[in-house]
C-alpha cells in the first residue's frame, strides 16, 4: 500500500506518457481527460527539466478533450471521437497518440474501440490508458511505449545486425535525455553500430516505425523501460540488455567493451575508439591537477535522485573523481522487487566506497535519514562528512545548505539553470560533469 508523499518529484502516468510523445518529432498527444491534466503534467516537466520549454503542439497547444461533469456522467466517447477527427484535420503530424487521465479510466470509456475506428480507416492513431492513479511518470513512459510498439511499429521486417534501439530515458525525469541520447548515438556510431534514439529533436518518425529492424534493444536502466523492452521482444522478437548509465571514463569504457563483445566489433577499432575518447577526457583534466590537489577538492558525496542516476553518479565520483560516496537516496516509486534489483547493483561497488543506500520518496525524510547516519558517526566536532557535496535536485538545496556542502543539480527538478544539449554520459559527458562539479567549488571566487 502506498502512503502520502511530501513534495513529490515526478508527475503521474499520464504525464510520463505525454512528455514521451512530446519528445517524438511529428507525434502529437490527444489527452482525453479533465481540463488541467495536460497542463499540470506538462508544466511540471517543461519547467523542472531545466526549462525544456514547449514547441508547437505541446504545452497549452496539446489537443485535449477537456471533459467536464457532463462527460463524467454520460461518458466521454463521443467527445473523444469528435476531438480525434478534428485533431487529424487541424494538426499537421504523422502520429497521434490518445492518452487518458484518471477520469476517463474510472468512468470506463472504451477508448480502444473509439481509436480502432480511426485505425480501420488507416489513420495513424494509437491509444494508451494512462490514468494518473496507475503510477508515476516512469510507469507512463512504459505504458506509452508498449502502445507504440504494439500499435505503430511495423511487424515482420528483416533484422539489421548493426542497429540498436535505446530505451530507459524518461524525458524530463532525465533532465539531460536529449544530450545523453545524442552522445550515446555518436559513441556507438564510432563502433559502427547505428542507434535509434527516438526522443531527440533530430530523430525522424520512420526510424521509430521501422525500429523492429534492430538486432538489440539496450535499456539504460534496471527498472524503467524494462517492461517496454519486454513488450518489444514479445511483439517483434528483439532481445534486450539492461545497462547502467555510463558516466565518465571508467563506466563508459566498460560499456563499450560489452557492446564490442555483443556486436563482435573489430578489437583494433574498439581499442582505438576507447583510447581516443580517453585522451579527450584526460587532456582536459590533466591541466586541472594543480587545482584539484592543491585545493583538496575531494568531497564526501551525498547523491539523491532516480535509481539510474544515483548508481551511475556514485560510480563516477568513486571511480573517476576519487571522492568518497557517503549517502545515496533513491527517490523513485519502486516495487520491493525493483528495490532489491537496484540494491544488488550497489553491492557491486567495493565495500570501502559503497555509500549508505536508502529508498525514500519524501524530500524531508531524506534529510532525516541522513541526519540519523551522521549521528551514528559520533563525531565530537559534529562534522563527520565535511567537506561534503550534494548532487541532487533543486528540492535538495536546503539539505545541502544544512550540511554547508557544495550543491549541483542533476536530477529532476532543476529550475535554477537552463539545460539544452548538455549531457553527462560517455567520456565527454563525464568531462562536463567534472567541470560542473569543480566549478561549484570555485564559484564564490
Amino acid at each position: 500500500m502506498s502512503t502520502y508523499i511530501e513534495r513529490p518529484r515526478y508527475h503521474c502516468a499520464l504525464g510520463g506518457a505525454l512528455v514521451t510523445i512530446n519528445s517524438i518529432e511529428r507525434a502529437v498527444a490527444i489527452v482525453h481527460s479533465a481540463p488541467g491534466c495536460a497542463a499540470s503534467a506538462d508544466v511540471a516537466a517543461t519547467v523542472g527539466s531545466g526549462y525544456w520549454g514547449t514547441t508547437v503542439t505541446d504545452g497549452r497547444a496539446t489537443p485535449s478533450t477537456n471533459i467536464v461533469e457532463r462527460e463524467v456522467i454520460f461518458g466521454g466517447e463521443e467527445r473523444l471521437k469528435e476531438q480525434i477527427a478534428a485533431t487529424l484535420d487541424v494538426i499537421d503530424a504523422d502520429l497521434y497518440a490518445v492518452i487518458t487521465g484518471c477520469m476517463t479510466d474510472i468512468i470506463g470509456d472504451d477508448v480502444r474501440a473509439v481509436v480502432a475506428e480511426f485505425q480501420k480507416q488507416g489513420k495513424p492513431v494509437i491509444v494508451a490508458e494512462t490514468g494518473g492513479f496507475k503510477g508515476d511518470s516512469s510507469v507512463g513512459y512504459d505504458f506509452i511505449w508498449e502502445s507504440i510498439i504494439s500499435q505503430y511499429v511495423t511487424k515482420g521486417l528483416p533484422k539489421d545486425d548493426r542497429l540498436v534501439n535505446l530505451f530507459g530515458f524518461v524525458p524530463a525525469q532525465d533532465v539531460f535525455w536529449r544530450g545523453n541520447l545524442i552522445e550515446l548515438k555518436r559513441l556507438l556510431g564510432l563502433l559502427g553500430v547505428r542507434a535509434n534514439t527516438f526522443l531527440t529533436p533530430f530523430d525522424e518518425l520512420p526510424s521509430l516505425k521501422e525500429s523492429s529492424r534492430a538486432a538489440l534493444n539496450i535499456v539504460f536502466s534496471q527498472v524503467h523501460g524494462i517492461s517496454a523492452a519486454g513488450k518489444f521482444e514479445e511483439v517483434h522478437g528483439v532481445p534486450f540488455v539492461s545497462e547502467p548509465l555510463p558516466i565518465g571514463p571508467t563506466a563508459t569504457e566498460a560499456f563499450l567493451r560489452r557492446v564490442g563483445e555483443q556486436f563482435k566489433i573489430d578489437s583494433a577499432l574498439l581499442e582505438k575508439v576507447i583510447a581516443d575518447e580517453q585522451t579527450h577526457y584526460y587532456r582536459f583534466i590533466n591541466p586541472l591537477t594543480d587545482l584539484v590537489n592543491d585545493q583538496d577538492f575531494q568531497r564526501f558525496g551525498v547523491i539523491i535522485g532516480n535509481a539510474d542516476y544515483v548508481y551511475a553518479l556514485t560510480r563516477f565520483i568513486a571511480d573517476d573523481l576519487g571522492w568518497i560516496p557517503y549517502f545515496a537516496a533513491i527517490t523513485d516509486l519502486l516495487s520491493d522487487e525493483d528495490q532489491e534489483k537496484v540494491a544488488e547493483h550497489f553491492n557491486t561497488i567495493d565495500v570501502s566506497l559503497r555509500p549508505k543506500l536508502i529508498f525514500e520518496k519524501d524530500t524531508d525524510r531524506i534529510t532525516q535519514r541522513l541526519n540519523e547516519e551522521l549521528e551514528k558517526e559520533n563525531d565530537p566536532y559534529g562534522t563527520p562528512i565535511s567537506p561534503a557535496f550534494v548532487i541532487g535536485s533543486n528540492l535538495d538545496r536546503p539539505l545541502a545548505a544544512g550540511l554547508k556542502a557544495g550543491f549541483w543539480g542533476v536530477s529532476f527538478p532543476i529550475t535554477n539553470r537552463i539545460v539544452t544539449d548538455q549531457y553527462y554520459l560517455g567520456f565527454r559527458g563525464g568531462l562536463r560533469l567534472a567541470t560542473d562539479l569543480i566549478s561549484v567549488l570555485i564559484s564564490n571566487r
Binding site: 519547467v47 476531438q83 478534428a86 499537421d92 492513479f133 536546503p398 527538478p413
Partner: protein
C-alpha cells in the same frame, strides 16, 4: 447564496454566466445572449488549466502552510514550480530566507480507487500536523477522490478536534468547471472558512465606527500574480491621499486575513478575480467596496483613486495628487511616444487585465487590433465599447478562449500586429511569428499606477527597438497546423447549442472580416 453559505463553490459558468468560447468583434461584446454564450464549446480544443491550479497557486502563498493534495500523484506535480515562483516573491518582499512551501500528495493508486482514500487522507493530515506543526493545513480535493466518493468534509471534521492547527479545505476538482478562474473563488472560500468562519476563535466582531480624525483603512485584495513593485505602488497612491492599507489575502497570515474584516473599505484591483470575497466582506461585515476599475493606465488609475477617495471625502486631496503624478508620468513618457505612435497591438490575458491594459496602450498613442480573453463575464463588458470608441470607432476581433493557441495563431497570421502583449505562456505564439512581445505582467516589474504607465511604455519601446531573437526564430520553426487551417475562420470550431445562433455565427463571421480589414 454566497461565499458564507456555499458548501462547495459553484462554477463561474453558473455563478456569473462566464463563457470561454466565443469569437467576434469588440463592438459586439455584451450584445449576445449571455446564457447562450455560457454554453458555447469547441469541437477541437487544446489543454486549458483546471481550477485546482490557481487554487494551489494562491493557497501555497500562505506562510508556513502545508497543502495536502488529495488525489493521484500528478495533481501535485506543479508544486515545485509554484514554490520557485513563491520564493521569488519572498525575495522581492525582502525575505530571502523564507522556507520552501510544503505540499503533499496523498498519492492515490489503483487500490485506493477501489477501496477509497479517506483513511489515507486522515493519516496524512494527522502525520503532517504532528511532524511539521504548520500554521495551517489545507486540503485540495481533486477529481479522483471526488468520483470515488471520498467524503472530504467528513474526514476534515473528524480530524479537526484532534489538532489545534486550523484546517482548510477546497473542492477544486478539475472536471467540475470549464472556467478555471473559479479556482480564485475556491481559494477565498478556503481562507474565509478556515481562518474566519470556522476559526477556533470564531469570526471577529464587526468593526466599530471610525473615530473622528482616524485615518481610513482599506483592504487591497492582491493577486498571487501581482508582484511586490505593484503592491508598493498601490500603497504609495493611497497613503499619499491619507489612506492606510491592509494587503491580502495572498501571502498573508491568519491574523492579516482576519483583519480584512476590520477595514473601512475593500478595494479590488481586479473585479473578476475578487468579487466573491468582496461580497462576503460586504454582506457579513458591512464593508463597502470599490470594484470597477483596475489602476492601469492614467485614466483608469485616476478613476480608481477618485472612487476610493470619494468614500472618505478625500476627492480634493486625490485630485491634487493625480494632477502632480499625471504631469510627471506624461513628461516621463514623452521621449517614448514617437516610437509608439500608431503601433498596432494585440493583447492576450485574463479579460479584465487585457482590456484595461488596452486603455493604457491607447493613451500612449497605440491602436488595439485584436484581443484574446481567457474567459468573458460582465465585469469586462463595458470596456470593449470604450476601447473601440477611444480609437475612433475602429473595431477589432475578440477571441474568448481558455488559451486555444490554434485560434490565436490563426488570428495573428491574419492581423499581423506590430506588438503582442500577453500573459506568460501566450507570448511564444506571437514570438514564433516574429512579432515583438512584452509580457502583460511579471512579478518583478511595475504595471499599475503612474510608475506602471511609464515602465510599460519604456518596455514596449525597448522590445520594438530590437526583436531580432523573434525575427530570426520565426524563420526557423516548424508549423504545427495544416495549411488549410489558416484559410478558415479562427472561430470555425466554436459550437453554440442554440439553433438561431447559426445566424449569429454568420454575423460574427462577417463582422470579423470587417474588423480584420479595419485592423
Amino acid at each position: 447564496m454566497g461565499l458564507k453559505e456555499d458548501k462547495t463553490v459553484p462554477g463561474r459558468e453558473d455563478r456569473v454566466a462566464a463563457c470561454m468560447a466565443h469569437g467576434g468583434c469588440a463592438s459586439g461584446i455584451g450584445k449576445q445572449d449571455k446564457i447562450c454564450l455560457k454554453n458555447n464549446e469547441r469541437g477541437f480544443s487544446q489543454a486549458g488549466l483546471c481550477q485546482l491550479l490557481p487554487t494551489l497557486g494562491m493557497l501555497l502563498t500562505l506562510p508556513e502552510t502545508a497543502v495536502v493534495i488529495h488525489g493521484a500523484i500528478g495533481c501535485g506535480s506543479t508544486g515545485f514550480g509554484m514554490n520557485t515562483s513563491i520564493k521569488l516573491h519572498h525575495l522581492l518582499r525582502g525575505n530571502p530566507n523564507a522556507k520552501d512551501s510544503l505540499w503533499f500528495s496523498t498519492n492515490l493508486d489503483e487500490s485506493d480507487v477501489v477501496h477509497g482514500g479517506e483513511q489515507r487522507l486522515e493519516e496524512t493530515l494527522l502525520a503532517v500536523a504532528e511532524k511539521y506543526r504548520p500554521k495551517s493545513i489545507i486540503v485540495l480535493q481533486t477529481c479522483t477522490p471526488s468520483i470515488i466518493g471520498d467524503d472530504l468534509v467528513g474526514v476534515i471534521e473528524k480530524v479537526r478536534p484532534l489538532t489545534d492547527i486550523p484546517l482548510l479545505y477546497s473542492h477544486c476538482e478539475g472536471f467540475k468547471t470549464k472556467i478555471w478562474a473559479t479556482g480564485y473563488d475556491v481559494a477565498f472560500h478556503a481562507m474565509v472558512h478556515g481562518f474566519i468562519e470556522k476559526d477556533k476563535e470564531g469570526p471577529p466582531p464587526r468593526k466599530k465606527e471610525r473615530a473622528p480624525g482616524e485615518r481610513p483603512k482599506v483592504n487591497i485584495i492582491n493577486l498571487a500574480s501581482m508582484g511586490k513593485p505593484d503592491e508598493l505602488e498601490l500603497e504609495r497612491l493611497l497613503n499619499a491621499i491619507g489612506i492606510d492599507v491592509v494587503i491580502g489575502p495572498n501571502f498573508a497570515d491568519r491574523e492579516t486575513i482576519r483583519n480584512l474584516t476590520q477595514a473601512d473599505l475593500t478595494v479590488s484591483v481586479c473585479p473578476t478575480h475578487d468579487d466573491y470575497l468582496v461580497h462576503y466582506l460586504h454582506t457579513e461585515y458591512g464593508i463597502p467596496y470599490v470594484m470597477k476599475d483596475m489602476p492601469i493606465g492614467l485614466e483608469n488609475t485616476s478613476k480608481w483613486l477618485l472612487d476610493i477617495a470619494s468614500q472618505f471625502g478625500l476627492e480634493k486631496e486625490a485630485r491634487a495628487f493625480i494632477e502632480v503624478e499625471e504631469a510627471k508620468a506624461r513628461q516621463a513618457v514623452q521621449r517614448y511616444l514617437p516610437a509608439l505612435k500608431g503601433i498596432r497591438v494585440f493583447l492576450s490575458a485574463g479579460e479584465f487585465r487585457a482590456v484595461v491594459t488596452g486603455g493604457l496602450f491607447q493613451e500612449l498613442g497605440m491602436e488595439i487590433v485584436g484581443l484574446r480573453s481567457y474567459h468573458h463575464d460582465d465585469f469586462g463588458t463595458e470596456f470593449y465599447a470604450q476601447l473601440v470608441k477611444a480609437q475612433g470607432d475602429k473595431d477589432f476581433p475578440v477571441d474568448i478562449a481558455n488559451f486555444q493557441p490554434f485560434e490565436l495563431v490563426n488570428l495573428l497570421k491574419k492581423i499581423k500586429p506590430d506588438l503582442f502583449c500577453g500573459h506568460v505562456f501566450d507570448n511564444a505564439w506571437a514570438a514564433r511569428l516574429g512579432i515583438p512581445c512584452i509580457t502583460i505582467f511579471r512579478i518583478f516589474d511595475f504595471y499599475v499606477g503612474y510608475r506602471g504607465f511609464y515602465e510599460v511604455a519604456k518596455k514596449a519601446v525597448r522590445n520594438l527597438r530590437n526583436h531580432s531573437f523573434n525575427t530570426k526564430l520565426s524563420q526557423n520553426v516548424p508549423e504545427a497546423y495544416r495549411k488549410d487551417w489558416y484559410d478558415k475562420s479562427p472561430f470555425a470550431y466554436i459550437k453554440s447549442d442554440k439553433l438561431e445562433d447559426a445566424a449569429d455565427l454568420q454575423d460574427t463571421a462577417e463582422s470579423f472580416q470587417t474588423a480584420v480589414a479595419a485592423a
